[in-house]
Point group: C2
DNA sequence: ATATTTAAAGATAGTTTTGTCTTTTATTTT
DNA sequence: AAAATAAAAGACAAAACTATCTTTAAATAT
């Protein structure tokens, strides 16, 4: 559904929200390992997300790292998509028409508009912090199981 | 949601189902134009779909082209996804975990399983031929509006 | 038989996405 | 002030996706 960039972003932010705070900043190394993502690639993504401190914040140097304030933890996960320009995925036509609306629908439009708003709503109403609890309880996971060779 | 390949494939098949038949085969040129897709790229895709005549059929030479039988027109659009290996998109975890299930869920799993089955059902219960009628009536469209420069 | 038509197949190239590695900058600690 | 730490930034490379062009093979029509 989303790009790897967005998948890593969602996982990383959820991890930071759960484990980090202004007092306990998390290194990119810890984060990348915790979500089982390539470290430097994840770093680039977090840079984007920390631009203007919209979702996450960062501090350089010893005891530096990434963290979130309670205010940003309460934002909907849609915010993450928006910062990456990936919220458009939730508006796209299934058949890829650049205009697809009630006025000029694709043949699948009428079926899809039954579902698409639910998807949008999921990302709008689910807050970042809502996703952290089950992880701490060991009831949800944010790390791919490593593939055996 | 899907790759360009899949988008073109869905559009092309719907077009062929609506306009073509064993008696009236359609050229790749006509199809590509009708769905506003690059001709040779579309050709490759149709080759995949016509392998073993699973969804579409083709005949070379004069008066040749692509067509579908009534039997294949009645197949669910899921068949198209399956032939391209894109049906897995409908099973994927939103966060990209390679294992994400009730047993080992990602933190978004519980929300997403409210929606994902509806998506699957849409592709399973919608038949190719179901999507052709509105196009012929001018009530649905299968061609991107060409962008002005 | 030959020429024509049309899809199949192959080669290649551009673009985007994903990933790695190195250098730089900011911050803190000693 | 100097050394150490950690993110920021830049360069680069591999892979996947999208796209174009050319050649080949099959079928039909002349």
């Amino acid at each position: 559904m989303f790009t790897k960039t967005t998948e890593y972003a969602l996982r990383a932010v959820i991890y930071i929200a759960g484990k980090g705070s202004e007092e306990k900043k998390l290194s990119i190394q810890e984060i990348a390992h915790a979500i089982n993502a390539p470290q430097h690639f994840t770093a680039k993504i977090l840079q984007q997300l920390s631009a203007e401190n919209k979702v996450i914040s960062s501090v350089r140097g010893p005891n530096g790292g990434f963290f979130m304030t309670m205010k940003t933890k309460k934002k909907p996960i849609m915010e993450i998509l928006k910062l990456l320009g990936e919220d458009v995925v939730l508006d796209k036509c299934v058949l890829g028409l650049n205009e697809c609306s009630g006025k000029r629908p694709c043949p699948l439009h009428v079926q899809y508009i039954q579902i698409r708003p639910q998807l949008r709503e999921m990302f709008k109403s689910t807050k970042i912090i809502d996703l952290t609890n089950d992880i701490e309880l060991g009831k949800a996971f944010i790390r791919s199981v490593s593939k055996k060779k």
